[in-house]
Symmetry: C2
Protein backbone atom coordinates (compact mmCIF):
# COMPACT_ATOMS: atom_id res chain seq x y z
CA UNK A 1 0.00 0.00 0.00
CA UNK A 2 1.24 3.49 -0.93
CA UNK A 3 0.61 6.22 1.62
CA UNK A 4 1.21 9.96 1.48
CA UNK A 5 1.64 12.11 4.60
CA UNK A 6 0.64 15.71 3.95
CA UNK A 7 0.13 18.52 3.18
CA UNK A 8 2.81 18.82 5.92
CA UNK A 9 5.21 15.84 5.96
CA UNK A 10 5.76 14.91 9.59
CA UNK A 11 8.69 12.50 10.14
CA UNK A 12 6.98 10.81 13.14
CA UNK A 13 3.94 9.94 11.02
CA UNK A 14 6.02 8.83 8.02
CA UNK A 15 7.95 6.53 10.36
CA UNK A 16 4.65 5.09 11.63
CA UNK A 17 3.48 4.38 8.06
CA UNK A 18 6.72 2.54 7.27
CA UNK A 19 6.67 0.67 10.61
CA UNK A 20 3.19 -0.63 9.73
CA UNK A 21 4.51 -2.11 6.47
CA UNK A 22 3.33 0.47 3.91
CA UNK A 23 5.34 2.50 1.41
CA UNK A 24 5.63 6.30 1.37
CA UNK A 25 4.73 7.94 -1.92
CA UNK A 26 3.68 11.18 -3.58
CA UNK A 27 0.03 12.21 -3.12
CA UNK A 28 -0.74 11.39 -6.75
CA UNK A 29 0.46 7.77 -6.41
CA UNK A 30 -1.05 7.10 -2.97
CA UNK A 31 -4.20 5.12 -2.29
CA UNK A 32 -4.15 6.40 1.29
CA UNK A 33 -3.54 9.83 2.72
CA UNK A 34 -2.47 10.59 6.30
CA UNK A 35 -3.55 14.19 6.70
CA UNK A 36 -1.35 16.53 8.73
CA UNK A 37 -1.22 20.34 8.72
CA UNK A 38 -3.19 22.57 6.36
CA UNK A 39 -6.92 23.22 6.32
CA UNK A 40 -9.80 21.06 4.99
CA UNK A 41 -10.15 23.51 2.08
CA UNK A 42 -6.77 22.24 0.81
CA UNK A 43 -8.07 18.69 0.55
CA UNK A 44 -8.90 19.09 -3.17
CA UNK A 45 -5.20 19.68 -3.91
CA UNK A 46 -4.27 16.17 -2.69
CA UNK A 47 -7.47 14.37 -3.70
CA UNK A 48 -7.58 12.20 -6.84
CA UNK A 49 -9.88 9.47 -8.20
CA UNK A 50 -7.75 6.55 -6.93
CA UNK A 51 -7.70 7.81 -3.35
CA UNK A 52 -9.42 5.26 -1.05
CA UNK A 53 -8.75 6.22 2.55
CA UNK A 54 -7.94 9.41 4.49
CA UNK A 55 -6.75 9.36 8.09
CA UNK A 56 -7.55 12.72 9.74
CA UNK A 57 -5.41 14.00 12.61
CA UNK A 58 -8.10 15.29 15.01
CA UNK A 59 -10.82 13.67 17.08
CA UNK A 60 -13.43 16.35 16.28
CA UNK A 61 -13.96 16.74 12.53
CA UNK A 62 -16.64 19.43 12.29
CA UNK A 63 -14.36 21.71 10.22
CA UNK A 64 -14.21 18.88 7.63
CA UNK A 65 -17.97 18.49 7.74
CA UNK A 66 -18.62 22.19 7.26
CA UNK A 67 -16.01 22.44 4.46
CA UNK A 68 -18.08 19.70 2.79
CA UNK A 69 -15.07 17.73 1.56
CA UNK A 70 -15.89 14.28 2.99
CA UNK A 71 -16.73 12.96 -0.47
CA UNK A 72 -18.30 9.63 -1.43
CA UNK A 73 -15.98 6.81 -2.42
CA UNK A 74 -13.37 7.68 0.20
CA UNK A 75 -13.22 6.17 3.69
CA UNK A 76 -12.44 8.79 6.32
CA UNK A 77 -11.11 7.96 9.78
CA UNK A 78 -10.71 10.47 12.59
CA UNK A 79 -8.33 10.29 15.53
CA UNK A 80 -11.29 9.84 17.94
CA UNK A 81 -10.20 7.92 21.02
CA UNK A 82 -6.50 8.46 20.38
CA UNK A 83 -6.18 11.38 22.72
CA UNK A 84 -8.63 10.17 25.33
CA UNK A 85 -6.07 9.56 28.09
CA UNK A 86 -4.27 12.83 27.43
CA UNK A 87 -7.53 14.80 27.52
CA UNK A 88 -8.80 12.87 30.56
CA UNK A 89 -5.60 13.72 32.44
CA UNK A 90 -6.07 17.39 31.61
CA UNK A 91 -9.73 17.16 32.68
CA UNK A 92 -8.81 15.71 36.07
CA UNK A 93 -6.16 18.43 36.41
CA UNK A 94 -8.79 21.10 35.74
CA UNK A 95 -11.21 19.49 38.23
CA UNK A 96 -8.56 19.41 40.98
CA UNK A 97 -7.23 22.89 40.18
CA UNK A 98 -10.77 24.25 40.35
CA UNK A 99 -11.76 22.32 43.47
CA UNK A 100 -8.65 23.50 45.29
CA UNK A 101 -8.68 27.05 43.80
CA UNK A 102 -5.20 26.67 42.30
CA UNK A 103 -6.02 29.24 39.60
CA UNK A 104 -6.53 31.81 42.35
CA UNK A 105 -3.31 30.76 44.12
CA UNK A 106 -1.39 31.17 40.86
CA UNK A 107 -2.50 34.81 40.60
CA UNK A 108 -1.54 35.88 44.13
CA UNK A 109 1.44 38.05 45.01
CA UNK A 110 0.95 37.52 48.73
CA UNK A 111 0.25 34.63 51.10
CA UNK A 112 -3.52 34.38 51.32
CA UNK A 113 -5.54 31.24 51.73
CA UNK A 114 -8.31 30.60 49.23
CA UNK A 115 -11.92 30.18 50.28
CA UNK A 116 -14.30 27.43 49.22
CA UNK A 117 -11.88 24.58 48.78
CA UNK A 118 -13.62 21.35 47.80
CA UNK A 119 -12.63 17.72 47.33
CA UNK A 120 -13.15 15.31 44.48
CA UNK A 121 -13.25 12.44 47.00
CA UNK A 122 -16.77 11.16 47.39
CA UNK A 123 -18.19 13.72 44.96
CA UNK A 124 -20.66 13.16 42.12
CA UNK A 125 -19.21 13.61 38.63
CA UNK A 126 -21.57 14.00 35.68
CA UNK A 127 -20.16 13.29 32.23
CA UNK A 128 -22.15 14.61 29.28
CA UNK A 129 -20.95 12.76 26.20
CA UNK A 130 -19.37 9.77 27.88
CA UNK A 131 -17.28 8.26 25.10
CA UNK A 132 -13.55 7.58 25.00
CA UNK A 133 -12.59 10.61 27.10
CA UNK A 134 -15.32 9.81 29.62
CA UNK A 135 -14.15 6.22 29.96
CA UNK A 136 -10.54 7.33 30.41
CA UNK A 137 -11.67 9.88 33.01
CA UNK A 138 -13.68 7.26 34.92
CA UNK A 139 -10.48 5.19 35.12
CA UNK A 140 -8.56 8.12 36.61
CA UNK A 141 -11.38 8.88 39.06
CA UNK A 142 -11.64 5.33 40.39
CA UNK A 143 -9.41 5.92 43.47
CA UNK A 144 -11.50 8.97 44.45
CA UNK A 145 -14.63 6.94 45.19
CA UNK A 146 -16.84 9.22 43.12
CA UNK A 147 -20.36 8.54 41.89
CA UNK A 148 -20.44 8.89 38.10
CA UNK A 149 -23.56 9.94 36.20
CA UNK A 150 -23.38 9.70 32.41
CA UNK A 151 -25.17 10.89 29.33
CA UNK A 152 -24.42 9.50 25.88
CA UNK A 153 -26.14 9.25 22.51
CA UNK A 154 -27.37 5.67 22.82
CA UNK A 155 -28.10 5.56 26.54
CA UNK A 156 -26.11 2.30 26.64
CA UNK A 157 -24.87 1.96 30.25
CA UNK A 158 -21.37 3.32 30.71
CA UNK A 159 -19.01 1.08 32.69
CA UNK A 160 -18.45 2.55 36.13
CA UNK A 161 -21.42 4.94 35.95
CA UNK A 162 -24.24 4.70 38.51
CA UNK A 163 -26.71 5.85 35.83
CA UNK A 164 -26.59 6.51 32.08
CA UNK A 165 -29.21 8.53 30.22
CA UNK A 166 -29.73 9.12 26.49
CA UNK A 167 -28.69 12.59 25.41
CA UNK A 168 -32.26 13.31 24.23
CA UNK A 169 -33.66 12.44 27.68
CA UNK A 170 -34.16 15.97 29.01
CA UNK A 171 -35.12 14.75 32.48
CA UNK A 172 -32.02 12.59 32.73
CA UNK A 173 -29.79 15.47 31.71
CA UNK A 174 -31.54 17.73 34.24
CA UNK A 175 -30.98 15.14 36.99
CA UNK A 176 -27.28 14.91 36.09
CA UNK A 177 -26.96 18.70 36.26
CA UNK A 178 -28.78 18.91 39.59
CA UNK A 179 -26.77 16.18 41.33
CA UNK A 180 -23.23 16.66 40.03
CA UNK A 181 -20.44 18.44 41.91
CA UNK A 182 -18.50 18.41 38.65
CA UNK A 183 -20.18 18.54 35.23
CA UNK A 184 -17.83 17.41 32.47
CA UNK A 185 -18.70 18.25 28.86
CA UNK A 186 -17.14 15.77 26.44
CA UNK A 187 -19.82 15.46 23.76
CA UNK A 188 -19.22 16.08 20.05
CA UNK A 189 -20.23 19.43 18.56
CA UNK A 190 -23.39 18.87 16.51
CA UNK A 191 -26.52 20.87 15.82
CA UNK A 192 -28.20 19.00 18.72
CA UNK A 193 -25.50 19.85 21.28
CA UNK A 194 -25.17 23.55 20.36
CA UNK A 195 -25.61 25.70 23.52
CA UNK A 196 -26.52 22.58 25.50
CA UNK A 197 -25.34 24.44 28.60
CA UNK A 198 -27.44 27.59 28.45
CA UNK A 199 -28.89 29.81 31.18
CA UNK A 200 -31.57 27.22 32.01
CA UNK A 201 -29.05 24.39 32.31
CA UNK A 202 -26.73 26.54 34.44
CA UNK A 203 -29.60 27.40 36.77
CA UNK A 204 -30.18 23.66 37.32
CA UNK A 205 -26.57 23.05 38.41
CA UNK A 206 -25.79 22.48 42.10
CA UNK A 207 -24.55 25.57 43.98
CA UNK A 208 -20.75 25.44 44.23
CA UNK A 209 -20.40 22.90 41.42
CA UNK A 210 -17.82 23.19 38.64
CA UNK A 211 -18.35 23.02 34.89
CA UNK A 212 -15.47 21.58 32.86
CA UNK A 213 -15.67 21.78 29.06
CA UNK A 214 -13.12 19.73 27.13
CA UNK A 215 -15.36 19.21 24.08
CA UNK A 216 -16.10 22.23 21.90
CA UNK A 217 -16.94 25.82 22.77
CA UNK A 218 -20.28 25.73 20.96
CA UNK A 219 -21.76 23.45 23.65
CA UNK A 220 -21.76 26.25 26.23
CA UNK A 221 -23.53 29.63 26.03
CA UNK A 222 -20.62 31.88 26.99
CA UNK A 223 -22.67 34.94 27.98
CA UNK A 224 -24.98 32.88 30.19
CA UNK A 225 -21.92 31.28 31.78
CA UNK A 226 -20.26 34.63 32.55
CA UNK A 227 -23.51 35.74 34.18
CA UNK A 228 -23.74 32.58 36.30
CA UNK A 229 -20.09 32.95 37.38
CA UNK A 230 -20.46 36.65 38.20
CA UNK A 231 -23.51 35.84 40.31
CA UNK A 232 -21.66 32.97 42.02
CA UNK A 233 -24.49 30.61 41.07
CA UNK A 234 -21.97 27.85 40.38
CA UNK A 235 -18.53 27.30 41.91
CA UNK A 236 -16.63 27.83 38.69
CA UNK A 237 -15.85 26.83 35.14
CA UNK A 238 -12.74 25.37 33.57
CA UNK A 239 -12.84 25.75 29.82
CA UNK A 240 -10.41 24.17 27.42
CA UNK A 241 -12.62 25.34 24.56
CA UNK A 242 -14.64 28.51 24.20
CA UNK A 243 -17.13 30.31 21.99
CA UNK A 244 -15.76 32.36 20.33
CA UNK A 245 -12.41 30.62 20.10
CA UNK A 246 -9.88 32.03 20.57
CA UNK A 247 -11.46 34.08 23.34
CA UNK A 248 -10.74 37.77 22.55
CA UNK A 249 -7.96 39.49 24.51
CA UNK A 250 -9.13 40.80 27.87
CA UNK A 251 -12.40 38.79 27.81
CA UNK A 252 -13.97 38.74 31.31
CA UNK A 253 -13.34 34.98 31.61
CA UNK A 254 -9.58 35.52 31.59
CA UNK A 255 -8.48 35.79 35.24
CA UNK A 256 -12.10 35.54 36.39
CA UNK A 257 -12.02 34.43 40.05
CA UNK A 258 -14.30 31.53 39.15
CA UNK A 259 -12.75 30.53 35.82
CA UNK A 260 -9.77 28.72 34.40
CA UNK A 261 -9.17 29.25 30.69
CA UNK A 262 -7.05 26.50 29.18
CA UNK A 263 -6.44 27.62 25.58
CA UNK A 264 -7.38 24.40 23.74
CA UNK A 265 -4.43 22.78 25.47
CA UNK A 266 -5.91 19.50 26.74
CA UNK A 267 -4.17 17.67 23.94
CA UNK A 268 -0.94 19.60 23.36
CA UNK A 269 1.22 19.05 20.28
CA UNK A 270 4.02 17.55 22.42
CA UNK A 271 1.71 14.79 23.66
CA UNK A 272 -0.43 14.63 20.50
CA UNK A 273 2.13 13.54 17.95
CA UNK A 274 3.28 10.36 19.69
CA UNK A 275 -0.38 9.38 20.24
CA UNK A 276 -1.32 10.17 16.62
CA UNK A 277 1.68 8.19 15.34
CA UNK A 278 0.49 5.14 17.30
CA UNK A 279 -2.99 5.48 15.74
CA UNK A 280 -1.56 5.90 12.22
CA UNK A 281 0.61 2.80 12.61
CA UNK A 282 -2.34 0.79 13.93
CA UNK A 283 -4.73 1.88 11.17
CA UNK A 284 -2.20 1.36 8.35
CA UNK A 285 -1.52 -2.11 9.73
CA UNK A 286 -5.28 -2.81 9.88
CA UNK A 287 -5.82 -1.50 6.35
CA UNK A 288 -3.10 -3.78 4.97
CA UNK A 289 -4.53 -6.74 6.91
CA UNK A 290 -8.10 -5.92 5.81
CA UNK A 291 -9.26 -5.40 9.40
CA UNK A 292 -11.80 -2.71 10.41
CA UNK A 293 -10.26 0.73 10.86
CA UNK A 294 -10.43 2.66 14.14
CA UNK A 295 -12.24 6.01 14.25
CA UNK A 296 -14.39 5.43 11.17
CA UNK A 297 -16.25 8.66 10.38
CA UNK A 298 -20.04 8.53 10.22
CA UNK A 299 -20.70 11.26 7.65
CA UNK A 300 -24.40 11.44 8.48
CA UNK A 301 -23.81 11.96 12.21
CA UNK A 302 -20.94 14.36 11.53
CA UNK A 303 -18.31 12.62 13.68
Amino acid sequence: MKVHVGPVALPELEAAVVAAGAELSSAADASALVWFGGSPEQFAELDHPALEWVQLPSAGIESWVSADVLRDGVTFTSAAGTYAQTVAEHTLGLMLAGARQMHQMARETSWSKPEEQRSVFGSTVGIIGAGGIGRALIDLLRPFGVRVLAVNRSGKPVDGAAATWRSDDAEGVAELLAESDFVIIAAPATAETSKLIDAAALSRMKPGSWLVNVARGSLVDTDALVEALDAGRIGGAALDVTDPEPLPDGHPLFQHPRAIISPHAANPQSLLIPALARRVEENVRRRIAGEPLLGLVDRTAGY
Copy 2:
Protein backbone atom coordinates in the same frame (compact mmCIF):
# COMPACT_ATOMS: atom_id res chain seq x y z
CA MET B 1 -13.98 8.69 80.36
CA LYS B 2 -14.15 12.49 80.69
CA VAL B 3 -12.83 14.51 77.77
CA HIS B 4 -12.36 18.24 77.32
CA VAL B 5 -12.22 19.90 73.87
CA GLY B 6 -10.23 23.13 73.98
CA PRO B 7 -8.94 25.76 74.31
CA VAL B 8 -11.47 26.38 71.52
CA ALA B 9 -14.60 24.23 71.87
CA LEU B 10 -15.48 22.93 68.41
CA PRO B 11 -18.98 21.40 68.18
CA GLU B 12 -17.88 18.85 65.52
CA LEU B 13 -15.17 17.49 67.83
CA GLU B 14 -17.41 17.50 70.89
CA ALA B 15 -19.97 15.51 68.90
CA ALA B 16 -17.24 13.03 67.95
CA VAL B 17 -16.25 12.58 71.61
CA VAL B 18 -19.84 11.87 72.58
CA ALA B 19 -20.39 9.56 69.61
CA ALA B 20 -17.42 7.48 70.75
CA GLY B 21 -19.02 6.98 74.17
CA ALA B 22 -17.11 9.47 76.34
CA GLU B 23 -18.42 12.36 78.42
CA LEU B 24 -17.61 16.03 77.87
CA SER B 25 -16.22 17.86 80.89
CA SER B 26 -14.27 20.89 82.06
CA ALA B 27 -10.50 20.76 81.53
CA ALA B 28 -9.90 20.31 85.27
CA ASP B 29 -12.09 17.17 85.45
CA ALA B 30 -10.91 15.59 82.19
CA SER B 31 -8.45 12.70 81.89
CA ALA B 32 -8.21 13.39 78.17
CA LEU B 33 -7.86 16.59 76.21
CA VAL B 34 -8.74 17.04 72.55
CA TRP B 35 -6.70 20.08 71.63
CA PHE B 36 -8.18 22.59 69.19
CA GLY B 37 -7.25 26.25 68.62
CA GLY B 38 -4.67 28.17 70.64
CA SER B 39 -0.92 27.72 70.66
CA PRO B 40 1.27 25.08 72.39
CA GLU B 41 2.35 27.75 74.89
CA GLN B 42 -1.23 27.71 76.26
CA PHE B 43 -0.97 24.02 77.09
CA ALA B 44 0.00 24.74 80.73
CA GLU B 45 -3.36 26.46 81.27
CA LEU B 46 -5.27 23.23 80.58
CA ASP B 47 -2.69 20.78 81.94
CA HIS B 48 -3.13 19.18 85.39
CA PRO B 49 -1.67 16.15 87.19
CA ALA B 50 -4.54 13.79 86.35
CA LEU B 51 -4.31 14.45 82.60
CA GLU B 52 -3.45 11.18 80.81
CA TRP B 53 -3.87 11.72 77.10
CA VAL B 54 -3.81 14.66 74.67
CA GLN B 55 -5.04 14.40 71.09
CA LEU B 56 -3.33 17.08 68.97
CA PRO B 57 -5.08 18.45 65.86
CA SER B 58 -2.19 18.53 63.36
CA ALA B 59 -0.07 15.89 61.65
CA GLY B 60 3.21 17.82 62.09
CA ILE B 61 3.88 18.64 65.75
CA GLU B 62 7.22 20.45 65.62
CA SER B 63 5.73 23.57 67.25
CA TRP B 64 4.83 21.36 70.24
CA VAL B 65 8.33 19.90 70.30
CA SER B 66 10.00 23.31 70.21
CA ALA B 67 7.63 24.72 72.85
CA ASP B 68 8.88 21.79 74.99
CA VAL B 69 5.44 20.99 76.43
CA LEU B 70 5.23 17.28 75.59
CA ARG B 71 5.73 16.31 79.22
CA ASP B 72 6.32 12.87 80.74
CA GLY B 73 3.31 11.02 82.09
CA VAL B 74 0.99 12.17 79.31
CA THR B 75 0.36 10.23 76.10
CA PHE B 76 0.30 12.52 73.08
CA THR B 77 -1.26 11.56 69.76
CA SER B 78 -0.99 13.61 66.58
CA ALA B 79 -3.38 13.67 63.65
CA ALA B 80 -0.73 12.02 61.44
CA GLY B 81 -2.38 10.01 58.67
CA THR B 82 -5.77 11.68 59.13
CA TYR B 83 -5.29 14.15 56.35
CA ALA B 84 -3.36 11.86 54.04
CA GLN B 85 -6.06 11.57 51.36
CA THR B 86 -6.81 15.30 51.43
CA VAL B 87 -3.13 16.18 51.10
CA ALA B 88 -2.55 13.48 48.46
CA GLU B 89 -5.40 14.88 46.38
CA HIS B 90 -3.85 18.35 46.59
CA THR B 91 -0.46 16.88 45.68
CA LEU B 92 -1.85 15.22 42.56
CA GLY B 93 -3.58 18.50 41.69
CA LEU B 94 -0.27 20.36 41.97
CA MET B 95 1.49 17.71 39.85
CA LEU B 96 -1.12 17.94 37.09
CA ALA B 97 -1.35 21.74 37.26
CA GLY B 98 2.44 21.96 36.96
CA ALA B 99 2.74 19.32 34.24
CA ARG B 100 0.04 21.03 32.15
CA GLN B 101 1.16 24.61 33.05
CA MET B 102 -2.23 25.54 34.49
CA HIS B 103 -0.62 28.18 36.73
CA GLN B 104 0.54 29.98 33.60
CA MET B 105 -2.88 29.64 31.96
CA ALA B 106 -4.52 31.14 35.06
CA ARG B 107 -2.39 34.28 34.73
CA GLU B 108 -3.08 34.97 31.03
CA THR B 109 -5.29 37.74 29.72
CA SER B 110 -5.11 36.47 26.17
CA TRP B 111 -5.32 33.16 24.32
CA SER B 112 -1.81 31.78 24.25
CA LYS B 113 -0.81 28.15 24.43
CA PRO B 114 1.72 27.16 27.07
CA GLU B 115 5.02 25.55 26.21
CA GLU B 116 6.51 22.43 27.76
CA GLN B 117 3.36 20.53 28.63
CA ARG B 118 4.12 17.15 30.17
CA SER B 119 2.13 14.10 31.21
CA VAL B 120 1.99 12.16 34.46
CA PHE B 121 1.17 9.00 32.45
CA GLY B 122 4.16 6.69 32.38
CA SER B 123 6.32 9.09 34.38
CA THR B 124 8.59 8.33 37.34
CA VAL B 125 7.41 9.75 40.66
CA GLY B 126 9.87 9.94 43.56
CA ILE B 127 8.40 10.26 47.05
CA ILE B 128 10.76 11.43 49.79
CA GLY B 129 9.16 10.55 53.10
CA ALA B 130 6.72 7.91 51.90
CA GLY B 131 4.34 7.57 54.86
CA GLY B 132 0.59 8.05 54.95
CA ILE B 133 0.50 10.82 52.35
CA GLY B 134 2.82 8.84 50.08
CA ARG B 135 0.64 5.75 50.31
CA ALA B 136 -2.50 7.78 49.58
CA LEU B 137 -0.74 9.41 46.62
CA ILE B 138 0.38 6.04 45.25
CA ASP B 139 -3.30 4.99 45.30
CA LEU B 140 -4.30 8.05 43.30
CA LEU B 141 -1.45 7.54 40.83
CA ARG B 142 -2.28 3.90 40.12
CA PRO B 143 -4.32 4.58 36.93
CA PHE B 144 -1.45 6.68 35.50
CA GLY B 145 0.92 3.72 35.19
CA VAL B 146 3.75 5.57 36.91
CA ARG B 147 6.96 4.10 38.34
CA VAL B 148 7.23 5.05 42.01
CA LEU B 149 10.57 5.44 43.79
CA ALA B 150 10.41 5.92 47.56
CA VAL B 151 12.56 7.02 50.45
CA ASN B 152 11.52 6.53 54.07
CA ARG B 153 13.18 6.36 57.48
CA SER B 154 13.27 2.58 57.79
CA GLY B 155 13.87 1.62 54.17
CA LYS B 156 11.00 -0.87 54.55
CA PRO B 157 9.63 -1.45 51.04
CA VAL B 158 6.66 0.78 50.27
CA ASP B 159 3.70 -0.98 48.64
CA GLY B 160 3.52 -0.01 44.98
CA ALA B 161 7.06 1.41 44.82
CA ALA B 162 9.62 -0.09 42.42
CA ALA B 163 12.39 0.73 44.93
CA THR B 164 12.55 2.03 48.50
CA TRP B 165 15.68 3.48 50.08
CA ARG B 166 16.45 4.50 53.65
CA SER B 167 16.52 8.26 54.13
CA ASP B 168 20.17 8.08 55.25
CA ASP B 169 21.16 6.26 52.03
CA ALA B 170 22.64 9.21 50.14
CA GLU B 171 23.12 7.20 46.94
CA GLY B 172 19.51 6.04 47.00
CA VAL B 173 18.24 9.58 47.45
CA ALA B 174 20.53 10.75 44.62
CA GLU B 175 19.15 8.02 42.34
CA LEU B 176 15.58 9.04 43.16
CA LEU B 177 16.38 12.68 42.34
CA ALA B 178 18.10 11.78 39.08
CA GLU B 179 15.34 9.49 37.78
CA SER B 180 12.12 11.20 38.87
CA ASP B 181 9.95 13.38 36.64
CA PHE B 182 8.15 14.49 39.82
CA VAL B 183 9.89 14.68 43.20
CA ILE B 184 7.37 14.79 46.06
CA ILE B 185 8.54 15.93 49.50
CA ALA B 186 6.38 14.46 52.25
CA ALA B 187 8.92 13.84 55.02
CA PRO B 188 8.63 15.24 58.56
CA ALA B 189 10.61 18.34 59.49
CA THR B 190 13.52 17.23 61.67
CA ALA B 191 17.12 18.30 62.10
CA GLU B 192 18.11 15.57 59.60
CA THR B 193 15.71 16.73 56.87
CA SER B 194 16.50 20.45 57.14
CA LYS B 195 17.46 21.81 53.69
CA LEU B 196 17.39 18.27 52.29
CA ILE B 197 16.71 19.85 48.89
CA ASP B 198 19.65 22.22 48.56
CA ALA B 199 21.61 23.41 45.52
CA ALA B 200 23.39 20.05 45.22
CA ALA B 201 20.13 18.08 45.34
CA LEU B 202 18.50 20.42 42.81
CA SER B 203 21.45 19.98 40.46
CA ARG B 204 20.89 16.20 40.55
CA MET B 205 17.24 16.50 39.48
CA LYS B 206 16.22 15.59 35.94
CA PRO B 207 15.89 18.55 33.53
CA GLY B 208 12.22 19.49 33.19
CA SER B 209 11.22 17.69 36.38
CA TRP B 210 8.90 19.19 39.01
CA LEU B 211 9.46 19.49 42.74
CA VAL B 212 6.32 19.34 44.91
CA ASN B 213 6.67 20.11 48.63
CA VAL B 214 3.69 19.25 50.81
CA ALA B 215 5.74 18.62 53.97
CA ARG B 216 7.39 21.61 55.62
CA GLY B 217 9.24 24.60 54.17
CA SER B 218 12.45 23.83 56.06
CA LEU B 219 13.12 20.80 53.83
CA VAL B 220 13.88 23.00 50.81
CA ASP B 221 16.56 25.69 50.50
CA THR B 222 14.41 28.50 49.08
CA ASP B 223 17.25 30.61 47.65
CA ALA B 224 18.80 27.63 45.89
CA LEU B 225 15.36 26.74 44.50
CA VAL B 226 14.75 30.25 43.14
CA GLU B 227 18.14 30.07 41.43
CA ALA B 228 17.37 26.65 39.88
CA LEU B 229 13.97 27.90 38.65
CA ASP B 230 15.38 31.14 37.23
CA ALA B 231 18.01 29.13 35.37
CA GLY B 232 15.36 26.67 34.12
CA ARG B 233 17.40 23.79 35.53
CA ILE B 234 14.19 22.05 36.61
CA GLY B 235 10.71 22.29 35.11
CA GLY B 236 9.13 23.90 38.14
CA ALA B 237 8.18 23.78 41.78
CA ALA B 238 4.81 23.57 43.49
CA LEU B 239 5.11 24.54 47.13
CA ASP B 240 2.37 24.17 49.70
CA VAL B 241 4.91 25.09 52.38
CA THR B 242 7.78 27.57 52.24
CA ASP B 243 10.75 28.90 54.19
CA PRO B 244 10.08 31.51 55.44
CA GLU B 245 6.36 30.90 55.88
CA PRO B 246 4.35 32.88 55.10
CA LEU B 247 6.40 33.87 52.08
CA PRO B 248 6.81 37.68 52.22
CA ASP B 249 4.60 39.79 49.92
CA GLY B 250 6.03 40.11 46.43
CA HIS B 251 8.57 37.27 46.91
CA PRO B 252 9.96 36.17 43.50
CA LEU B 253 8.26 32.78 43.82
CA PHE B 254 4.80 34.40 43.65
CA GLN B 255 3.75 34.35 39.98
CA HIS B 256 7.13 32.86 38.99
CA PRO B 257 6.63 31.22 35.57
CA ARG B 258 7.97 27.97 36.99
CA ALA B 259 6.30 28.05 40.41
CA ILE B 260 2.94 27.45 42.04
CA ILE B 261 2.60 28.77 45.58
CA SER B 262 -0.18 27.06 47.47
CA PRO B 263 -0.37 28.89 50.83
CA HIS B 264 -0.36 25.89 53.21
CA ALA B 265 -3.69 24.94 51.70
CA ALA B 266 -3.27 21.20 51.04
CA ASN B 267 -5.40 20.45 54.06
CA PRO B 268 -7.91 23.31 54.25
CA GLN B 269 -10.08 23.93 57.30
CA SER B 270 -13.24 22.98 55.39
CA LEU B 271 -11.86 19.50 54.65
CA LEU B 272 -9.81 19.22 57.86
CA ILE B 273 -12.54 19.32 60.47
CA PRO B 274 -14.58 16.36 59.23
CA ALA B 275 -11.37 14.32 58.94
CA LEU B 276 -10.17 15.36 62.40
CA ALA B 277 -13.57 14.54 63.89
CA ARG B 278 -13.35 11.02 62.44
CA ARG B 279 -9.89 10.59 64.04
CA VAL B 280 -11.06 11.94 67.42
CA GLU B 281 -14.02 9.56 67.44
CA GLU B 282 -11.80 6.61 66.53
CA ASN B 283 -9.14 7.40 69.15
CA VAL B 284 -11.65 8.07 71.95
CA ARG B 285 -13.32 4.75 71.10
CA ARG B 286 -9.93 3.02 71.16
CA ARG B 287 -8.95 4.66 74.46
CA ILE B 288 -12.19 3.47 76.10
CA ALA B 289 -11.68 -0.03 74.69
CA GLY B 290 -8.02 -0.09 75.76
CA GLU B 291 -6.84 -0.47 72.15
CA PRO B 292 -3.64 1.19 70.83
CA LEU B 293 -4.17 4.81 69.79
CA LEU B 294 -3.52 6.07 66.25
CA GLY B 295 -0.83 8.71 65.68
CA LEU B 296 1.12 8.01 68.86
CA VAL B 297 3.84 10.67 69.18
CA ASP B 298 7.44 9.51 69.45
CA ARG B 299 8.90 12.31 71.57
CA THR B 300 12.49 11.29 70.83
CA ALA B 301 11.99 11.36 67.05
CA GLY B 302 9.95 14.55 67.28
CA TYR B 303 6.87 13.33 65.35
